[in-house]
Amino acid sequence: MLKYVIFEGGMYKHELLLEFVDDVGGFVIQKTVIGLDLIMNLAVPEEEVERLQELVQEVKGKLRDAPLIGTEVAVVAPTLSRHHLPHPACDIAENLRRHGAKTNIMGLARGVGQKIVHTSIQERQLIEEHDLAVFTLGNFEHCLRRFKPKLFKDLSIPVIVTGGPLELEVEGANGYVGGIGRYPERARTMDMIERLRKVSELAGKLIEERRREMDLDPLIIEPALVKSEVERQVPEVLDALSPTPVTLKVDGVRIKLPYDEYKEKVASVVVEGKKLNEVSRITRSQMRDYILVKILSESYFS
């Protein structure tokens, strides 16, 4: 299984790291250079992390675990109005990004109230395109416990719920983080930031659990390899203005190019001697007109 880590250090001798990652069959998911500083999101085989750590110490850098690298997380607010946005949703999304996730914030059409609350099929499909969803709900225990579970209880992906009450069991959610309800300001206190960190920590734990489950029947090709091959064989993707034009997901990639125009080209991308459409399902995404690639598992071919 691959382990996801963030390297923070300088440019000096960083080629050693790149060489090492390449040699052990890992991937550089993202590389950001800020002046002389370097931040890299890396995926390396679990058994090689110790050796990588030694190398990182040699180049005087830092390495930290970031299980959310290579995941796309939906942060779902009950609506798009100022009651629920921007503060809770954006704070949570920012913290998730600091832990390596790619986040998308979405507002439901009717996620409020007790009687009208519901999600449409299209909303559910869009949420399910992600690897994990964080629902940022309100302050009342009664509402959260009795009426809000219908928003997420049928979803096939892990769900974290945030709300005002400090402790709560929410039906249909994989985890709950309290003390983050509806609030009208940016999270600035240590207490609030700690709660945001808890959301990211819980998200990391759930994603790691999912990856361990998937390891029992691994994907036929690593999504990170598909990403680099798509970037190499469909260079138009590098000109797309969307952030992270090829977004890594736990079980595939999202390619931010128009589906009708590029589906054939994406399908004919060759990865490890096989065409992409032979080893994955390529569909139209509910998000704009993007291309969604879901890689098939090994058992599918046995």
Binding site: P78, T79, S81, R82, H83, H84, V112, G113, Q114, K115, I116, V117, G138, N139, F140, E141, H142, C143, G164, P165, L166, G181, R182, Y183, P184, E185
Partner: protein, 183 residues
């Protein structure tokens, strides 16, 4: 400004106290609102908010809204109410430029190289400020979105809004009437 919150969900109620405080601050209504009373019963569901506020006279000229004091080479503008700060800064910046206008305090602005007399006659907006309109906006920002059925009572400087998901019942109106706003 006093805020009384009666809630069957104690923590939820306290969070609403905070939401009210921050919204009053954001809308610069601190000096216009004198008291709030809120009753929250999510199990019904019912949300009642009562606001007592001071309606203001229509003043548009800077000389009427602020104390204007000459200083060596500059003029100090001390606004009576924070609610006018946004309009005053906007007008001063567009008239004299950003390099000459500086906000030196919450309600204080220093304008360099301009005579007090010309500032006194400066109109900072075309239309008068309506505090009651701003109070309506404030109340809408506070009431949870799902409580879409509203019943509004205006009695002089007191605004009462009963919000629920069902048609408003007479007993709720009575509960709202019994809620006291302390100034």
């Amino acid at each position: 400004m006093k805020i009384a919150v009666v809630s069957s969900d104690i923590r939820g109620g306290e969070m609403y106290r905070h939401i009210i405080e921050r919204n009053v601050e954001d809308m610069a209504l601190g000096s216009s609102v004198t008291g709030f009373a809120v009753m929250i019963k999510p199990e019904i569901p019912l949300f009642v908010i009562k606001v007592r506020y001071k309606e203001r006279e229509s003043k548009n000229k800077l000389g009427e809204l602020a104390r204007i004091e000459p200083r060596s080479g500059s003029t100090r503008v001390i606004l009576e109410d924070e609610i006018d700060l946004g309009d005053a800064l906007k007008t001063l910046w567009s008239t004299y430029g950003r390099d000459k206008v500086e906000q030196s305090g919450r309600t204080e602005i220093v304008v360099r190289g301009v005579e007090p007399e010309s500032l006194r006659e400066l109109r900072i907006r075309k239309e008068r400020v309506s505090v009651s309109e701003k109070i309506n906006e404030l109340v809408n920002r506070v009431i949870p979105e799902g409580f879409r059925i509203r019943y509004v009572i205006r009695e002089g400087d007191l605004l009462t809004v009963i919000a629920a998901e069902d048609p408003i019942k007479d007993e709720w109106k009575k509960m709202a009437a019994d809620l006291v706003v302390n100034d």
